[in-house]
Symmetry: C3
Subunit: 159 residues, 3 copies
Amino acid sequence: MVSNEENLKKSGIILPEISSPAGLYQPGIRIGDLIYTSGQLPLVGGKLLEPGGKGRVTEAREREAAMAARAAALNAIAVLRSVVGNLDAIAGVVKLTVYVSSAEGFTSQHKVANGASELVGEIFGESGRHVRSAVGVASLPLDASVEIEMIAYSPLSEK
Amino acid sequence: MVSNEENLKKSGIILPEISSPAGLYQPGIRIGDLIYTSGQLPLVGGKLLEPGGKGRVTEAREREAAMAARAAALNAIAVLRSVVGNLDAIAGVVKLTVYVSSAEGFTSQHKVANGASELVGEIFGESGRHVRSAVGVASLPLDASVEIEMIAYSPLSEK
Amino acid sequence: MVSNEENLKKSGIILPEISSPAGLYQPGIRIGDLIYTSGQLPLVGGKLLEPGGKGRVTEAREREAAMAARAAALNAIAVLRSVVGNLDAIAGVVKLTVYVSSAEGFTSQHKVANGASELVGEIFGESGRHVRSAVGVASLPLDASVEIEMIAYSPLSEK
């Protein structure tokens, strides 16, 4: 069985440094067997990765927004690792909530969210099968196109 | 004591077939004693049930949107049953998050959400008393008027 | 070590009476070691506290919206106490979800959310360090500027 960390290496995916929030909250937290992340933006090296432009997503920018969703999910996974030490300690991904900044008439939030779900599948395989909500919001911090929060399962002891 | 499944029969409510998501995520998941559902749309037989029309809800469409919320909640309950096998295994409903696609000036998301909470009450009675957030979003997948996610409690063992 | 209740007294913060929802759902719920609250508005004595005005927040109203976020968080903390009896039974705050009703171009939802996170820090200190999502929504019930839901940790037994 291939491990999550091996999947990561095989795919050539490099987890980013996690950016520390401005002091009042934290990127991730463990409560019992669950890890919760804060909402993650598509920040890469401290800058928004927005190949299609920032702000409200339109039909024309759907594919680029899915790439931004992938970048935000990558940050969430980096947060998971910062909490548990090693991605092989993640036994499953429970839930993604995908907020897409949406122009009037844009109704493909689920396709944008697929950019995040695909990355989760590449790294976690079958154990990455999660539930998901994808909704279109009015705007997001820093004018990002996407914000993603994640809940993962990492049992403290084998039962 | 009347069971959840009996309530369902008595009310003449028929749970729909659950629609399978497009492969990248799943409709519901159990983690420990909790069941999480994916965000559910008011889909009936694969088509949106939107008696008031799709898209952003206005004051004039509040009642119809509450009916759509009921349909989305019914899908969420069908997902719960698909995970636990029998609704009598659901000991409580924990939380509803109700996203309402909202036109400018529409501020009765809580009344739309009541369409979902009422259905939960009909089926689960007192054990269905849940916490709830209702918010107005810019748009939703497929131009739905409502999206609902649910967390329910189903203890693995009697303690 | 200073207790949460002592922090509250020292700061001169008075927790409000919790307003009871309209019967279909409840303000807070305990499931295992977690307490979930319903989405809380900045209601004070049954009226919205909106020093900057109701509805969609603009850059010009950012500071006032942060005060509304503080008021909504105070209501969430009052709900926590109503569930556990005494805030010293809260061992940690897990997560805040902060929905900010946002005008086009308003992209500082995180600064609004700081109004809530700061209050949590004042009362819970280090154990209040939480994860957080802040998103800009189209509108909220009663035309509120902010809605906040909280998850807290209150272990049933010392382990």
